[in-house]
Amino acid sequence: MNKIILDDVKVVDSVVDDCISYNLIDNEDVKVLNIDVLESCDLDLDYRFSSAKVEVCINVCSNIIFNVNEIISGESAKVRTKYVIDESSFVNVCKFNNIDSIKEYFVCNLNGVGASINYNLKTISINPENYEFLVYHNFKNTNSNICTNGVSIKDGSVLFNVSSFIGKDITGCVASQDNKIINLNDNECIIKPNLYIDCDDVSATHSAWVGSFREDELFYLQSRGIGRDDAIRLLISGFLTSNISDSLCDYIKNILDMYWR
């Protein structure tokens, strides 16, 4: 398994094979991590920030399957991530943020026929978190599935601003958004799902939910003898570990034990 561990200033540790090449450029105000994915592979990205401003550029060559497990932890970060995905390549991102405060900007360019991204973000917000996602379907028959899930606790709040773009004559695309915030405090959480589509022959869907867990779900769990607090904990665990790789799932469950022991 390829792995890159990055902190505020440097790559702390890395193990990469011939499928991946990377470099870190140390600009004065922002660190830029460039990653080129040359062949099908898996990669663990582990960011541990105390106060970082980072740009990550990931270029995925054509005809590749690329699986990414990404974790951001620490205190504070501003992160810009840019994916460029070439023809017939599929990128599957499973991502978990467990950081005190974050602003994240994500851009994905689907730059070849049949390019696809499946993106799953899970986050626990204890302070305000802002996310902006921009997905550009630049070629025909490209697919995007953006799934963002956040749980807001303590002083947390979450903004998901998700935009998918399909231009004129870019036919046969699939753009899907599924955004959900479980708000367990009184702070304002916002989802802005945007589909900018200038073409008839596409499939586009979005869903958005901000609120607590449904009472009928809680009733079902409680009717089996599970106390309300445990039921909520179970639902949070399910919410934050669904559609996530097994290795990330285990990591998230350990983190949940810290918050909801």
Binding site: E215, D216, E217, F219, Y220, L221, Q222, S223, R224, G225, I226, G227, R228, D230, A231, L234, L235, S237, G238, F239, L240, T241, S242
Partner: protein
Amino acid sequence: MHTLKIIDLCVSVDGKQILNKLNLVINSGEIHAIMGPNGTGKSTLSKVIMGDSNYKIMSGHIYFDDKEINDMAVDERARLGIFLGMQMPMEIEGVSNADFLRTALHNKNSEFKLYDFIKKMNSTVADLSMDKEMIHRGINQGFSGGERKKNEILQMYMLEPNTVLLDEIDSGLDVDSLRIVGEAVMNYYNHVKPGILLITHYQRLLDYIKPDFVHIMMGGSIVKSGDFSLVDLIEKYGYDLNKLGISTSVVEEIGSNE
């Protein structure tokens, strides 16, 4: 020996009265079937016994072993041994059946043993002809109607309740699944001797689970009780009051109370 006793229960939902002075006693070892037309309050009865907060008790009492449980939390009722097999079991993404049941059993019994849990679950899954892989899927996630009902029965076996409420457990089941579920309920009854309340529209479930008492419910009350022969009458005449020997004055009286 456990007793669920309901006395003069009046219940409303969204300001509309659904149950009207309903009385019922279920002892361990007894099987009761409640039948009645649609919208007469059968499912409401099961939900209110379980403590669903959508239903407001206006007056009356629910006792479990002489302790009033009107204001008891849902999970406390479940830990007393009351189980509701639901008509439309929830689908909950991400929470696996195994995690769910393990948490439930851990809440019930702190001396819960994982090995025994796995062993019992595997054997019950096989008995119910369920796919083993379903245990690791989200609760009822992607399950067919029949699979959801089998999953309810699986939960009943695992939790070992002393009082079982089964709300239209036969709906959505094909012939083979109905037999499997019916036999599984009877097998559980034969081993544990719980009190059972069956809510059903159809005689076909009662081919497998033979009730000791049959109740007809109309307008939020039980208007007639009898033995299994009442099922045959309903099958033959439907809910024709005269032919079922129900005085129209009884139903009119219920209507005037609503």
